[in-house]
Symmetry: C2
Subunit: 513 residues, 2 copies
C-alpha cells in the first residue's frame, strides 16, 4: 500500500513507531502493536499505532526515530506492507512455554530487540519468562554473545584486558575510583565503563563526573586507555550491547533482573575484557542478602565467564552499611581523592579497594595482590594515575579536595541514647540522600561520623545531611522524622571471603533467582 | 512541578500518555514508562514518554486521550507530581514470583489496567505470569468479577437470562445465527454479544452485520431484547468488561490466552446471564485438540460458572472441519437464513444448532431440548424471530438469500483423484478465505461441495473460492498452489458428547493450558 509521509515530530524513546489511520490498518490487516515494513530505499520494520483523527486515511504518521533512520520527506510516498510474523516471536513463545532456546534462537530474539522488530509487550513477556522459567548456562552464554554481537565493540590491541564490576546495592561505593588508577598504574589495561544512578544516590559515572567529563565516545575512550591504561567513562552512550539497555529498562520497570549475568558479561565482553573481578556486596542491606546466595551467584558468574572466555573471580564483601563515610557524587569523589592523596584514612574503603584490585592482580598471575595494591596506593602512583586519566578525559587534573562544591544546607542527625552502632539501613540512607538532591544535585548527600561498631554517646552527631537546595533538605529531614536509619553492633572486616573457580560443575545450572 | 500544556494531537490507542522533556523527567525523578499524576480539577495518572526535542523543558506534551479526559487548554499550566508506586504492580510481581493472588489484589490489578495506571510492560508481564504460573479457580473467579465490576452492565428485569458461547477455532460456525432466534422464539431471553474476526475469516458480529446493524449501544441493545427476547450485537463498543478487551489485545499479540475463561465469564456475567451453554469444538483442526482436553476445560467452565452464579453446561462438538458449507460473512449469513427458511438443508449446522439450543432448553428445566429446538426451527418461528430481531436492530427484515452480495471472482478447486474426503485443514481454509478478502470484504469466502466422508470422483469440484476483488482471488489461488487443504475419510455425527456438572471437585484446580 502506498502512503503519504507525515512526520509527527514526536519521539518514541528509541523505538521506530508509526501511526496509521484505522481504515488503512484495516485494509492492511494490521492491528495496534503489529508490525509493518516500510520500503523506501532501505526497508525498516516499525511498530504500528492506530489513529483515527491524527492521521488521515492515506497517510503514514512517523516518529522522529523513523525519520532519523529513513530520512523521509514530508508528503513523500512510501510503500508499506504488513511485516512477516517474526521468527523471534515464535522463539519467545517457546521460552514462555518452558522450552530451552538454542543459540540461533536467542540471537534472533536479541536481533529483534535491537532492530525494533519486537514490541514492548513481547520483550516484557520474554523477560518475564526468563524470570519465571530461569535460564540455563547455555542460554545465558548465547544471550551475552548475542548482545555483544548486536552492538559496538572496543578493540584494543592487548592480549590482556582487565575489568571490575560490582553487583551493587551498597551506597557510598566509590571503590572503582580507587581500583582503576591502582590497576592502570601497575601497567594493566582497564577500560572501565560505568553507569549512572537509577535508584541509588550515585553511580560510578555520577561520581567520576565531578572529577572529569565521562560522556566519551568509543574512539575517545580508546585514546584515553591508550595513553593511560585506564579510563572511567559512562557506558550509556557507547552503544555497547544496546539490547542490554533495552532489557534493563524492562527489567527495571518490573523490578526483576533475570538477565543480570548476561547483562554484566555482555558489557565486559564488549570492551574485550579477558580477566574480570566481580564484587558481590553481601548482607541484609545489600542486593544479595546471604553468603550462600552470593556463593551461588559467584559460581554462575565464574562458569559463564569461562564459556565467554573471560577469566573471573568474585569477591564477596561486607554490604550491611555504606562504604566509607560519604554518600553523594561530589562527597564520594572527594573522599576517594583524599584516600588516594593519603590526606584522609577510610579503613573500609581502603580495605575493599585493595582486595578488589588485589584480586585483579592475582587472576592475572601476580602474587600477594592485596599488598601490591596497597603499595601502589600508598606510593602515590595511583593518585598520579587518576590525575592522568582526569587530564586525558578533559578534566582539571590538579583538582584538590576543597575544589568540590558541597551543599551548604546541612542537618545534623544526633543520637538520642548511647551505645555502639548495631546496624545502618542502606535503603533509608539512599532515600535521605536522594531526598536531599543526589544524584542530580552533585553536592548533596551524607557524611557519616559513626558507622557499625562505633561507640556512641548521647547527642553525638551520627551523620550530617548536605543539600544544595534548602527545600530538599527539609524533605530529607522529614524522612528522618518518620524512619529509623541506624541502630547498634560490632565492627567487622570488609572481606567475607573470596570465591575462586568452582571445583564442581553443577548438573542443573539455573540462574533464576 | 508546574508544566505548560502542549496538546500534541496524537492518539495513543486509549492509554493516557504524556511526553516530558528529559530535563523535567530528571528533575521529577521519573523515567520512560513511569507514572505521573496530573492535578487539574480532577487528578489523572498517566504513563510517561521521554522527549528531548518534541517537548521543551517546562512543557507537558499530552495525547488526545489525556485531552479528552482532562479537557486542558493549550498553554494552560498544570501541577504534575510523580505518582506513588501502584500497589497493583506489587501484586503483579507477587504473581510473577509464584504467589497466589487474593480477591482484593486482583481487583486492584484489574482496576490498574482499566485506569491506565499500569503500563503495557506490566500488563504483558501479568498475562505472561498467568500463562506460566497458571491461575487457581479462586483467582479466575476474582478476575471475572473484577472485570465485570470495572465495566458497564446490562440490567434486564428477568430472573432467567440465557446465553451461549463458543470457544471457537472452527471456520464457518454460524450456529449463533440459528440458536439466538430459536431460543428467543421459545420465550427465553438471550442478549447475545459477539465479536468480530481477529484471525478468523468471520466472527459472529461480521456475519450478523450482513443482515443488520450490530454496533448498538447498551440502551439500544436493551430495547431490542425487551421487544424480541434476543439480539445479536457487537460486544466491542459496549464497554462490558473493558479490562478484558485490554487483556485480549496483549494475549493476542503473544498468542497465549491464560485469561480465556475469566474473559468468557466476565462478558456473560456483564449481560446478567444466569444460564450458559458453552460449545467446545474439538478435534485436530480446532482450538481444543482432544476430547480429554475439552473435558477438563468443560469442568473448569462449569466450576467457574458455579462460583459466579452462572449455571453452565458444555457441549463438545465435532471441530475437524468447517461447519456447514460456507466460510465468509455474507456466505455464512445467507446459509443460516436458508436453513431457517428451510430452502436449504445443511445437516451438520442443523444438528449443531439444535444441540446447542436444546442444551439451553434443558439447563433451564425443559425436557427433550433437541426436539424442542428442532420443532421451533422447522415451524418457521425461528425465521420469524430472526426477522423481528433484524427489524429491531435496524436491518431489512424482508431480506432474501439472493439479496446477499457475493464476490464474482471465483476459482474452483478440483480433486485430482477419487475416493472419500478424509480430512480438511481448518487453518488452510481460513487462510484461503482471508486471502480472498474475508472478513473485510464481506462477500468473499468459500463454498464447499464436499466435506469429510463425502465420495469424490476425479475432477469433482471440492470447493469454490469467491472474492470481491480479483487480485485477492489470485492470492488465494497462490496458497492453493502451495498447500493441501483436503484429504479422505468417514462421515461423523456432530455431537461427540455433552458435559453436565462435574460430580467430583478436583483438588488442584489449575486452568493453565
Amino acid at each position: 500500500m502506498d502512503l503519504i509521509i507525515k512526520n509527527l515530530g514526536i519521539e518514541s524513546g528509541g523505538k521506530p513507531i508509526v501511526f496509521l489511520n484505522v481504515l488503512d490498518a484495516d485494509e492492511l490487516g494490521v492491528s495496534a502493536s503489529g508490525r509493518l515494513q516500510i520500503n523506501s530505499g532501505r526497508s525498516l520494520t516499525v511498530i504500528v499505532n492506530i489513529a483515527s483523527v491524527t492521521v488521515q486515511k492515506g497517510y503514514l504518521g512517523i516518529s522522529e526515530e523513523v525519520q532519523k533512520i529513513l530520512k523521509l520527506e514530508q508528503d513523500s510516498v512510501v510503500d508499506v506492507q504488513i511485516s512477516p510474523f517474526p521468527k523471534s516471536l515464535q522463539f519467545i513463545r517457546n521460552k514462555l512455554n518452558g522450552k530451552k532456546l538454542t543459540d540461533k534462537e536467542i540471537h534472533e530474539i536479541v536481533n529483534g530487540v535491537v532492530n525494533g522488530n519486537l514490541n514492548e509487550n513481547e520483550i516484557a513477556a520474554f523477560v518475564t519468562s526468563l524470570h519465571i522459567q530461569g535460564l540455563s548456562l547455555d542460554e545465558a552464554t548465547s544471550l551475552s554473545s548475542s548482545m555483544v554481537m548486536t552492538g559496538k565493540q572496543l578493540v584494543l590491541n592487548s592480549p590482556q584486558i582487565v575489568d571490575k564490576h560490582s553487583i551493587g546495592g551498597v551506597p557510598g561505593d566509590k571503590t572503582t575510583l580507587l581500583v582503576v588508577p591502582i590497576i592502570a598504574a601497575s601497567g594493566l589495561i582497564i577500560p572501565k565503563t560505568s553507569s549512572r544512578a537509577i535508584t541509588s544516590a550515585a553511580g560510578t559515572a555520577d561520581r567520576a563526573e565531578t572529577l572529569m567529563p565521562v560522556d566519551l565516545g568509543i574512539e575517545e575512550m580508546k585514546e584515553v586507555v591508550h595513553k593511560t591504561n585506564g579510563c572511567i567513562v559512562w557506558g550509556g552512550a557507547l552503544d555497547l550491547a544496546p539490547a542490554d539497555d533495552i532489557f534493563v529498562k524492562t527489567e527495571y520497570s518490573l523490578c526483576i533482573d533475570p538477565l543480570l549475568l548476561p547483562s554484566i558479561m555482555s558489557k565486559k565482553k564488549a570492551v574485550g575484557a579477558t580477566h574480570l573481578v566481580v564484587d558481590i556486596p553481601t548482607g541484609r542491606g545489600a542486593k544479595v542478602k546471604t553468603i550462600g546466595e552470593a556463593d551461588l551467584l559467584a559460581k554462575d558468574i565464574i562458569e559463564l565467564g569461562k564459556r565467554l572466555g573471560i577469566y573471573c573471580h568474585c569477591v564477596l564483601t561486607y554490604g550491611e552499611q555504606p562504604i566509607g563515610n560519604t554518600i553523594g557524587p561530589s562527597l564520594e569523589a572527594r573522599e576517594a581523592l583524599e584516600v588516594l592523596m593519603k590526606t584522609s584514612q577510610v579503613p573500609d574503603l581502603f580495605d575493599k579497594a585493595c582486595h578488589v584490585a588485589g584480586s585483579i592482580f592475582e587472576i592475572t598471575g601476580k602474587k600477594n595482590g592485596f599488598e601490591l595494591a596497597r603499595d601502589i596506593l600508598l606510593s602515590g602512583k595511583a593518585e598520579k594515575k587518576l590525575r592522568e586519566i582526569i587530564s586525558q578525559q578533559g578534566g582539571q587534573s590538579e583538582i584538590k579536595p576543597f575544589d568540590f562544591v558541597i551543599g551548604t544546607n546541612t542537618f545534623e542527625y544526633r543520637s538520642v541514647n548511647e551505645g555502639q552502632v548495631l546496624w545502618m539501613d542502606n535503603n533509608i540512607m539512599v532515600e535521605i540522600a536522594r531526598a536531599a538532591g543526589a544524584p542530580k544535585n552533585k553536592g548533596s548527600g551524607i557524611i557519616f561520623n559513626k558507622k557499625n561498631g562505633d561507640k556512641v554517646s548521647k547527642n553525638d552527631v551520627l551523620f550530617t545531611v548536605y543539600a544544595e537546595k534548602s527545600p530538599k533538605l527539609s524533605r530529607a529531614e522529614q524522612i528522618l522524622d518518620e524512619k529509623m536509619p541506624m541502630g547498634i553492633g560490632d565492627k567487622m572486616e570488609m572481606l567475607i571471603h573470596r570465591v575462586k573457580e568452582s571445583p564442581v560443575v553443577r548438573r542443573s545450572f539455573i540462574l533464576d533467582r
